[in-house]
Subunit: 378 residues, 2 copies
C-alpha cells in the first residue's frame, strides 16, 4: 500500500498542478471530486465517472452513518467495494450536514448530538467518532470534525466556532493515529468572513502539521469576492507543499478563480444537482433545458464535447426529457455537467503546466460571455 | 428499404420461433419489447437496451402526441432519430391510454375526444389520426385504434366495443395505405372475456388480411386462466403465418404460457416499472430489494446472470439504493429486469428451435419454485 504524498509538478503564478498519491491511486490536481453522497454519484454509473477522468469521489459521512451505517459498510468490505469505486475516496466529517440537515442539534465541547432527518433516531458525532466512521468507510482522505457557521454571522460566534474547530482538530488528529498507514486526515480552516480569524486558524492548523488543509465554511451564501478574499488571507499561512482543498465550491468561475489562488481540490453538488434540474454547464455557459427555446432544436448541446450525452442527443430531446421528468434527462445532463467540470480541470492542469493558466481562464470565460450558440431557427 | 415479412424458422407444438423483418431491421421471435413510453426506456441508455438483445422497442402514441407532439418528432427526423434507437419501433394506437389516463373522454363512432392528463388541453383521436401520428413518428409496426374495455364487463358493452373496433380496423387500414412501403399495421382482436366474441373479431380481422395480429384488451385485471382461454379461442382463427402479438403482457410466467399457445410478441411495463420500485426478476423468481433481509448480504443477485448489474453489486448495495431512493437503484434493477426478460425470450427461441420448449418452460418454472437462494447469514 502506497503512502500519502503530494508532489507539485509545475507552477504558474500561485496556481499549481501536481499529483496526490493515496492508497487507492493518484489524484491529478487541480482536481474536481464528484459528490457521491450516499455511495453513488446520483444518476451515474461509476465506470462513467471514471471514464470522465475523475480520479477521486467524495462520500458524505452524515448520510452514510445514517444509511446504511458505517459498521455495516465496513462489514461489507468498505465504501470502495460497497459502491463499486476502486479509486481514491475523500469523506467529509459529517459536521456540515449535521448543521444543515439534522434536527434537535445540541453542540457541546464534546461534540454534537442530533436526530436523524430520516427517522428522528438519535446520534452523537464527536471528533473521535467522525474519524472512526471515516476509518470504517475506508476513506483515503478524511476530514476533521469542525463547526461550520452560516454567513453573515457575528464575529463572536464565528470566533467561537473557529476555536472549537481547532480543539477538535487536535482530538481528530490523535484519534486518526490509530488508522492504517497511507491514509490522510486534513485539518479545516474556519473563521467565516473574518480575515484575521482565518489567519489565526491557518497558523494554528499549520503548526499541527496536517498532510493537507481544507478551507471550510465558505460557499455558504457569501459573495464570491468574500470567498476569494478569505482564500487570499489564508494561503500565505498554509504549508505550500501540502494540498489545499476548498470545500463545497463551486461554479466553474469559482474554480478558475480559486485555482489561480493556489487551491488544488474541489467538491460541489452543483454539476449533479443542477443536472437533475435540467441545467447544463457548457463551453457556452449555463443552458437551461427546461426553456421552451430548445423544443424544436435538432442540434446537440456541443458537438465538440468529450461527452457523448452532449454530442449524440438533440437539444429538443434533452428538453423533452426534462419536461417529462424522465430519469434519462437527469442522467444525461448530470453526465454532461460532470464531463464539463472534469474537462475544465484537465484544461487547467495542462495550462498550468504550460505556464498559460491566465490565458486559459480568460479564454474559457470569453466563451461563457459569448453565450450559447445563436438560437436555432427553422 | 426492406419490406415487412415474417418467417417461421421452427415450431414446437403451438410455439414458434422466427424472424420479423422491418425497415429498421429484424426482430427475432418470440420477442419481448421494452416499453419506451416517452421516447426513452425509463432509466436506461438505448445502447444498454440494444446490448441486452432487445430487437424492438415500443413507443406510446398517447404520450408522444401530447409531449413533444407527433409533428414535432417528424420535423426532428422521426422517433428513431429523436430517441436514439436505430432498430425497429412498434407503436400502440393511443386508445388504451386515452381510456386509462385522459380526462373528459367522449367516444363516438368517429373517434374519441379527450383532455390531456397533463394540462387539460383537448385532443381528438380517430382511427385516421392515430395512423397519421404513428406514421409521423415513423413506427415500423403500427396498431389500429381500438376500444378496449375493462374486465369484467357486461357482454353488451364488450360486444359493442369489439364491433366498433372492427369498423375502426377498416378505417385504419384505408388510412395506413398512404404510408411508405415496408411498414406494417396490425389489426387488434377484441371481445373481452367472451370466447365467441373473440372468435368473431379474429375471423373478421383475418378477412381483412393484416400483416400481423394483436390480441388486445387482456392483462386488464382478469385471471391468467381467462387470458389463456382467450388466446386458445382466438388462435385457430388467426392466420398462422402472421405474427401474433399479445398486448401489455405480462409476467414471465404469462410469457411462457402464451408462447406455448403461439404468441410471438409481447410488451409490458412490468420489468421497468417494478424495477423502479425495487423488485427484481431473476432465475429464482421475484426479489424485493426493499426487504430488510438484504441489508447485510454481500452476495450479488445472481452471479450467473448476463447482466453486470446482477453480478457486480451486492444485494446489500441494491437494498441501500432502493431504501435511499437513489436513481441508481432504479437504473440497476430495471437493467436486471430487462436482461431477465430478454434472456427468457432468448432461451425460449433456442428451446423451440431445439424442440424442447416444454422442458425449458418446466426448468424455468422449477427454478422460480425453488425460490431465491437461501438467505445469507453472517
Amino acid at each position: 500500500m502506497t503512502g500519502f504524498s503530494f508532489a507539485i509538478a509545475a507552477r504558474d503564478g500561485a496556481a499549481r498542478t501536481g499529483t496526490i498519491v493515496t492508497p487507492h491511486g493518484p489524484i491529478r490536481t487541480p482536481a474536481f471530486m464528484p459528490v457521491g453522497t450516499q455511495a453513488t454519484v446520483k444518476g451515474m454509473y461509476m465506470d462513467q465517472v471514471k471514464a470522465l477522468g475523475a480520479d477521486v469521489i467524495l462520500g458524505n459521512t452524515y448520510h452514510l452513518m445514517l444509511r446504511p451505517g458505517a459498521e455495516r459498510i465496513a462489514a461489507l468490505g468498505g465504501l470502495h467495494r460497497f459502491g463499486g469505486w476502486s479509486g481514491p475516496i475523500l469523506t467529509d466529517s459529517g459536521g456540515f450536514q449535521v448543521m444543515s440537515l439534522a434536527k434537535l442539534r445540541k453542540l457541546t465541547e464534546t461534540g454534537v448530538t442530533f436526530a436523524s432527518h430520516i427517522d428522528g433516531s438519535r446520534y452523537e458525532l464527536t471528533p473521535e467518532r467522525s474519524v472512526a466512521i471515516q476509518g470504517l468507510l475506508g476513506a483515503d482522505i478524511q476530514m476533521q470534525l469542525d463547526e461550520c457557521v452560516a454567513l453573515p454571522n457575528d464575529r463572536a460566534t464565528i470566533e467561537k466556532a473557529m476555536q472549537l474547530s481547532l480543539r477538535w482538530a487536535e482530538r481528530s488528529q490523535r484519534a486518526f493515529a490509530a488508522q492504517p498507514p497511507g491514509r490522510a486526515l486534513f485539518g479545516i480552516v474556519q473563521g467565516g468572513d473574518q480575515p484575521d480569524l482565518r489567519v489565526d486558524s491557518a497558523k494554528a492548523l499549520s503548526a499541527m502539521d496536517f498532510p493537507g488543509y481544507s478551507i471550510g465554511g465558505l460557499a455558504v451564501g457569501e459573495p464570491q469576492e468574500v470567498m476569494l478574499a478569505m482564500i487570499e488571507a489564508v494561503m500565505p499561512h498554509l504549508p505550500d507543499a501540502r494540498p489545499h482543498y476548498l470545500m463545497g465550491v463551486g461554479t466553474p468561475d469559482d474554480l478558475l478563480a480559486a485555482i489561480a489562488r493556489g487551491i488544488d481540490m474541489f467538491d460541489c453538488v452543483m454539476p449533479t444537482r443542477n443536472g437533475r434540474h435540467g441545467q447544463a454547464f457548457s463551453r457556452f455557459g449555463r443552458v437551461n433545458f427546461r426553456n421552451a427555446r430548445h423544443a424544436d432544436d435538432p442540434r446537440p448541446l456541443d458537438e465538440t464535447s468529450s461527452c457523448p450525452a452532449a454530442r449524440d442527443y438533440s437539444r429538443a430531446y434533452l428538453h423533452h426529457l426534462v419536461r417529462t421528468e424522465e430519469m434519462l434527462g437527469s442522467m444525461l445532463i448530470t453526465w454532461i455537467n460532470l464531463a464539463y467540470y472534469q474537462d475544465l480541470m484537465a484544461g487547467a492542469r495542462e495550462a498550468i503546466a504550460a505556464g498559460r493558466f491566465a490565458d486559459y481562464a480568460a479564454e474559457v470565460r470569453a466563451n461563457w460571455d459569448r453565450g450559447d450558440i445563436q438560437p436555432w431557427s427553422a
